[in-house]
Subunit: 215 residues, 2 copies
Amino acid sequence: MNKRIGRFHVLTDLRFQQRFSHAELACLAAQGGADTIQFRQKSGSVRNMLAEAKRAASVCRDRGVPFLVNDRLDVALACRADGIHLGQQDFPVREARRILGPEAIIGGTVTTVEEVLAMQEAGADYVGFGPVFPTTSKDNPAPVKGVTNLAQVCKAVRIPVIAIAGISLERIGPVIRAGAHGVAVMTGVTTAENPARAARAFREELDAVITGYSD
Amino acid sequence: MNKRIGRFHVLTDLRFQQRFSHAELACLAAQGGADTIQFRQKSGSVRNMLAEAKRAASVCRDRGVPFLVNDRLDVALACRADGIHLGQQDFPVREARRILGPEAIIGGTVTTVEEVLAMQEAGADYVGFGPVFPTTSKDNPAPVKGVTNLAQVCKAVRIPVIAIAGISLERIGPVIRAGAHGVAVMTGVTTAENPARAARAFREELDAVITGYSD
């Protein structure tokens, strides 16, 4: 199986803005060039979450953009998501694989080389490593890892590493050159005045760095 | 398919006692005669919840007692639970059925005749109706329904109605005579000095009322 893991993940989370719904953010991000949408909702009722996730999943299906759900496997199943993104305290990857099957995209957040290797061993399709840079969107963020640790992790594993936390336009070059497959962005897109335009800027920088034109 | 719905559901919830784990409570309750265990954990990490649920599920399998998980379908799938118990703000019954399949026991909490009928229509195997009596184990309980409303609901549906909230030994007679199939008990068992003995007392009273000896 050859699962294509996106290079530009946008997380739809409503904690830092309420102008747009998950589906609207997914649409705007995809319009700007996001190639993976991760639906993240940590509060409110499951029934509401499911309704939101279904609308966002539908937008992503229409656009052919992989749609991942954060944490809740049951919501991922119900909205026929393409996969799941798991934290260290969420479902173990093996259990998730057993429930979602071999075709699902399963990734997770890791903060150490040990966790990266364990997640690869458990069958994850990608890892999100970080926080590479300081972030304001977590209440108790783990210590910042920096680009050096990112490079170490990228060397240690075969699966794609997505750099997370504090990713700005200027930081795309350094993280890609450190070996990251791509980046995950939340507020950099969702709280931008024009999310589609913000996503487009990330996409262009990413493409430029990857194809080496900006090196 | 003929799913046997238990008459004496015990909810394992650790908010009101921490002497016993879910698995221990399940064991003690089953020992006392509980014929359904509902695992309920509303806080903490999913990883921890899953580990606890697996241990409790294993105890129930060993004893041949149906094991239901509250709210989380993914946890129910991962620990191979017999079914799920859903609140009005959890997964809709139809979605749950689609994910868990026809053999799963699916029930849910309802507080009005309309909700009961909707849940029956959606394919639930049973409903938990209440609060029949005042309860201290919910922060914002719905208004108390009383035995008269319980009787009305029991007449309105074909599926078994389990009376919930404030169920004491003396109240088993009235709720069963009102048409309830059985009762769900939490603190009445879990915070009792001797949970197995407390469960035994409920079981005996229930059996006595059902077979008419105490009428």
